[in-house]
């Protein structure tokens, strides 16, 4: 190798610096393939979109009804998950009790369960003949299956683990000594929870809620099993997409596009505020 100084013709050193951190091909190729695999279906959706008829199709009241129902139920399901899931996460993170590991495993069951199975299980419990359903029917005249409430329940069932896992992780990461400091200042456990613990885990809580909402919005299997398919009542966007697929492919593509746009816009909007990961 010729040192730069002995080469009078070269204005700059002959030896170029090696680029630091060159990516190995063995990682680059599968990484690129992975990205293509994730992006291609979305691109295909965009490519097949009936752009010319899009405005009319968007104005279709049936589409708007399904979209409104989806947004409403996903939001209600998220609220339900927050109400029940945050205390559950706190219990798992902060209180030593026998069988805690079992409880933690149980919480993640809906995560690995096929959603349709979840829907069947919900029917068996809340159905007219179900364990709780029969009692609800006879005591209060309440029937849950095939109602909007059932949609919310199905979505919450499937989405809650996302929230619990995210919040529990955040709680474990939060220094419990802040809670001790609050106690020495006169704060009881509940006040400490609302005034110190929750603000400390707010980013994790927000991330969990967003994941939970996104999962609820996309819920299909448990919903169609437990809540059925009644336009305006239980027909959410994913169900509408599935049904449209059998009759009108273009309609299915339009519905999918809307669902995609709505979730991307909302997730991107929230990401900048809360999900500022590394």
């Amino acid at each position: 190798m010729t040192p730069a100084a002995t080469d009078p013709a070269a204005g700059a050193p002959v030896r170029t610096r090696r680029r630091p951190g060159r990516v190995p091909v063995a990682l680059l190729v599968p990484a690129t393939l992975g990205l293509v695999f994730l992006v291609l279906p979305v691109a295909g959706l965009l490519a097949r979109a009936p752009w010319a008829t899009l405005p009319q199709r968007l104005a279709d009241p049936a589409v708007l009804t399904a979209l409104r129902l989806s947004l409403l139920t996903a939001t209600l399901a998220t609220l339900l998950c927050l109400l029940l899931g945050v205390p559950l996460a706190w219990l798992l993170a902060r209180v030593e009790f026998p069988g805690r590991r079992v409880v933690r495993a149980l919480v993640t069951v809906p995560l690995v369960l096929p959603p349709v199975v979840g829907g069947v299980a919900l029917l068996l419990v809340f159905g007219r003949r179900g364990l709780l359903g029969e009692w609800l029917d006879s005591a209060f005249g309440l029937t849950l299956p095939f109602t909007t409430t059932a949609v919310v329940l199905a979505e919450a069932f499937v989405a809650m683990p996302f929230l619990v896992i995210a919040v529990e992780g955040a709680l474990r990461g939060a220094d419990p000594r802040y809670e001790e400091a609050a106690a020495t200042l006169g704060a009881g456990r509940w006040t400490t929870f609302t005034h110190v613990t929750l603000p400390l885990v707010a980013p994790g809580l927000a991330a969990g809620a967003v994941l939970c909402w996104a999962r609820a919005l996309g819920e299909f299997g448990a919903t169609i099993t437990f809540a059925g398919n009644f336009p305006g009542r239980t027909q959410t966007m994913p169900i509408a997409v599935y049904l449209a697929l059998e009759t009108d492919l273009e309609a299915a593509v339009v519905l999918s596009l809307i669902l995609l746009t709505v979730s991307v816009v909302i997730l991107a909007g929230l990401r900048d505020r809360w999900l500022t990961g590394p």
Binding site: T184, L185, A202
Partner: protein
């Protein structure tokens, strides 16, 4: 004499470690619990705060049993009239300095506006009136320490606890903050317990020292007594004295490996002998004349110590000697060098060990 404001015997069993430390503090008094790492200081503080239940013993504050396992008395941390300044302050990161200080008064039922006014007053008192709106992340270490102090004092605690209050600060800030802290501790009318491993903090801030080693009190007393008459190697090292335990007969004390020291005090039985490193003179040959205690020693190490050099010597007794750089040069001090050490009887301080 009136009963002390805080009367406690802190017994905590934690596996193989047992803490058993009696602490009494009068109103207006500042007691420093001093000890090496792992001595149980922080456990003692947590027990006083109610963050660590006692195994036995009691915590009685103003005549009320806050924790007394024998009588099944237990007051949780949030209902104790106690303020704590934690080692790393633990200021709530999501609240401003003002809201951090107002947190305590708010929990004690003070309305928001009054609590904020109280907080502003405290922040002014600790010299941070312009920083009320800042988040803890925007404060320097010294400022955060003062906010933590204001937060602990804002609930007017009967007992103020400080855990290594200056340990997290750099040397320069520590000097200013220590002086500032002393002013506030003097003004505090309740009892104060300060936990530290820094003897200077303890000597400057406290009226009385309780020295804890291995979960036990090894020595207790005011700064003058403790610094003049250490009773353990740890305390002797803290206050910078050579300390030996020996058997006295009149003016002579047998210490270490058959070495007999002549001392000024007349005592019999088990005694401690202490003398300052600066009282030790080093000679190349055996000295004659006035210094009455001489022994051969070997230099083990030489370190800077202020303007002088501190020489560690081995021999019949391990001893530290302070010499001027000029004397060190003259003696050509280096590890392994044999020298003669000499201490005048008048420079020693002997006192009973029991």
């Amino acid at each position: 004499m009136t009963a002390p404001l805080l009367d406690a015997r802190l017994v905590v069993d934690r596996g193989t470690f047992r803490l058993d430390v009696p602490v009494t503090v009068a109103a207006g008094e500042v007691v420093a619990v001093l000890g090496p790492n792992g001595a149980g200081k922080t456990t003692a503080l947590r027990a006083l705060a109610g963050l660590q239940p006692l195994t036995a013993g009691h915590v009685t504050l103003g005549g009320v049993d806050l924790d007394h396992p024998d009588r099944r008395a237990w007051t949780p941390a949030e209902r104790r009239p106690v303020g704590v300044v934690f080692q790393d302050y633990l200021l709530f990161p999501h609240l401003s300095a003002r809201d951090n200080v107002a947190f305590g008064p708010r929990r004690h039922g003070v309305d928001r506006r009054t609590a904020r006014r109280t907080a502003d007053e405290w922040l002014t008192r600790v010299g941070l009136s312009g920083y009320a709106g800042r988040r803890p992340g925007q404060l320097s270490g010294g400022q955060a320490q003062r906010v933590a102090l204001a937060r602990a004092l804002a609930v007017a605690p009967a007992l103020l606890l400080l855990d290594e209050p200056l340990a997290a600060l750099d040397a320069r800030t520590r000097l200013d903050t220590r002086a500032e802290l002393q002013r506030h501790l003097t003004a505090h009318g309740g009892a104060t317990v300060l936990v530290t491993h820094d003897p200077l903090d303890a000597l400057v801030l406290a009226d009385r020292l309780v020295i804890v080693e291995g979960g036990r009190v090894v020595q207790e007393g005011d700064a003058v007594t403790v610094t003049a008459r250490p009773r353990t190697d740890y305390v002797a090292r803290l206050v910078g004295l050579n300390l030996y335990r020996g058997h006295a007969a009149g003016h002579t004390v047998r210490v270490g490996d058959g070495l007999t020291l002549t001392v000024a005090d007349r005592l019999d039985g088990e005694v401690f002998v202490a003398f300052r490193p600066a009282a030790v003179a080093l000679h190349p040959h055996r000295p004659d004349g006035s210094p009455r205690n001489t022994w051969p020693a070997t230099v083990v190490g030489v370190q800077r110590h202020g303007d002088n050099l501190r020489v560690q010597l081995d021999g019949p007794i391990a001893v530290a000697a302070d010499v001027t750089p000029a004397a060190a040069a003259q003696l050509r001090l280096a590890p392994g060098q044999p020298v003669w050490a000499a201490v005048k009887a008048a420079e020693t301080n002997a006192y009973p060990a029991t």
